[in-house]
Symmetry: C2
Subunit: 384 residues, 2 copies
Amino acid sequence: MSDDERLARVALSRLGEPGDPRLTALVAELGAVAVCDYLREERDATGVATDVAARLHGLDPAGDLERAHREGIRFVVPGDAEWPTRLADLDRCPPLNGRGGAPLGLWVRGGARLAEVVDRSVAVVGSRSATTYGTGVAGEIAAHVATAGVTVVSGAAFGIDQAAHRGALAARGPTIAVLACGVDRAYPAAHRDLLAYVAETGLVVSELAPGCAPTKLRFLSRNRVIAALSLGTVVVEAAIRSGALNTAHWASLTNRVLMGVPGPVTSAPSEGVHELLRTRDAALVTRGGDVLELVSPSGSFTQLPVRGEVRPTDRLSETDRQVLDAVPVRLPAPAGSVARTAGLADPTVRAALERLRDGGFVVAGPAGWRLAGSTLPDPGGPAP
Amino acid sequence: MSDDERLARVALSRLGEPGDPRLTALVAELGAVAVCDYLREERDATGVATDVAARLHGLDPAGDLERAHREGIRFVVPGDAEWPTRLADLDRCPPLNGRGGAPLGLWVRGGARLAEVVDRSVAVVGSRSATTYGTGVAGEIAAHVATAGVTVVSGAAFGIDQAAHRGALAARGPTIAVLACGVDRAYPAAHRDLLAYVAETGLVVSELAPGCAPTKLRFLSRNRVIAALSLGTVVVEAAIRSGALNTAHWASLTNRVLMGVPGPVTSAPSEGVHELLRTRDAALVTRGGDVLELVSPSGSFTQLPVRGEVRPTDRLSETDRQVLDAVPVRLPAPAGSVARTAGLADPTVRAALERLRDGGFVVAGPAGWRLAGSTLPDPGGPAP
């Protein structure tokens, strides 16, 4: 991409709202230079330069880049080695809540290379008002996938986002915070240190130019970047109006893997996730391994099916198990009585009892058969 | 069905194991009279009557029926008005864990008519070692569907089963307990009163003749009856080796609706349910309404989609919302500053601010605009 185009994108990233679908569509079609030229000449009915034109004239994109550079911030645009090409999927999606299109560029802070770290990445998002259950599970999942070298993408918010970043950091894995404000700002302010840690080992990323403040609309815009950067999105807890459901919607629109962690049906922060699982074909995940399996090439992370403990009786034949079930726990019973309880023929039961005795499952005494490992009750003690 | 056939089925119900697929298949093909005749003549290589033949000769089916009648127990067979015809689906399923086929007959205790009460019915099953979460949800769901006139079918076990029956009883709805022992027995013994209540308003049902004891195999056999009697099965909590998963499997085999209630992924009793939701296409349900919708004719129980609260700002245009987001909470800011934060043109913002003031969202003062309903901080108080 030419320097002019890069500068024009810097200017537009400050002038317009991120993810304004009219702007992203125009830039995708004509390029940022042409769009800037057009806007710069815009005049109202009386021939006076419009407000937009005036603001565009007042911008200093080259200075912006220089000041950003001094703060360790770079502006990555399509065509750069670091640009994640999968963001182009956003140009093929319809707008959602008035936002859409690929970002004009991304402001990036941190030592990692963006395209490299998102190559294998998963978004872990959810409610700010999360429960300890939710933050616990989010942290576990993030740590698990980070240990496997998968980057955890999230939004640095309170609750699930914070737990996801922390889980990845604790596992010394890469993590990316995508903000709805300039990457030089800490939002929420309480996460200043968290964002500094994220920038050290991973990246802090935003569509918004340095200095820009977060707004609700910018969060909606940011959510589409979180979803599109990642191979899949895991929603851990999300109440019915949670922004995480917006991220989930973007994951579906961009054909990413959408995953949800269930929780108690009595817990409001799990309601939105259950809706995703019911109505959006989100995949139910319960642990990091499930997530890895879903975002990895087929077969490379297949897990063994979950099995309960193997019990000694598992290897018994059906008949032997049936007879064993009919043997009393404590008070011995004759073989005929066992046969009646089991509903099996006498000779069958007698043969089975001998096999079970050889296997150590039952013991025989003068009064008949009882389970091994059980003792007669103390005749002087209380009734069992 | 002839009296002979009924008596032959009584005899076989005492002689064989319930759900023995060899027996159920033979009876389905030849009828119980022919099977009894064949077994009665069976002799071993030396010409001596086999054990089975001897036991068959010792039975007294007519006496069995009479004794049962005196205890308020009847034996319902195919062809009876009370016989639920949908049980025939079991004859079209492959065996599972060595059990299969339609019951030869059902021993029934209670005043309700079996076919009538199962016409609209749902099984609610789960772990004996349930959590208070699980029993709470099971009880809620059972009460909700029972209030709508849907019969709750379960197994009278501790935990989820008990909660399901109680929920239905509390809602004065019909409920059916399907036992793995004779309907004259209370298993578990602690549920003697519960079973008595169930029989008063609903039914206690079993394949096993009065007096028979429960065994593990009989529980497996019983589970297929629970699943096949109902239009659908809801699994509330089930550890990986829970018998409720066997019931779930039978629900799938008989093409009933299989439903699962999710829970915390950290809770072992929810693990089995999550596996069902992941691998068996069980439908995720979170409340009684979900269950009613799934087991009712299309459209008759459709619920409104879950929505969050409606907020006053919901009806604002996108631009107005964008401007509102940029208005400071406490310290007033001039319109130009709001415009810069919002990233919108000045005239747009000024017009929006006036609309927002008229709507009561913002207030204007000499120093500019701030959100309505917020007050200036007390200058003498601590910093906010």
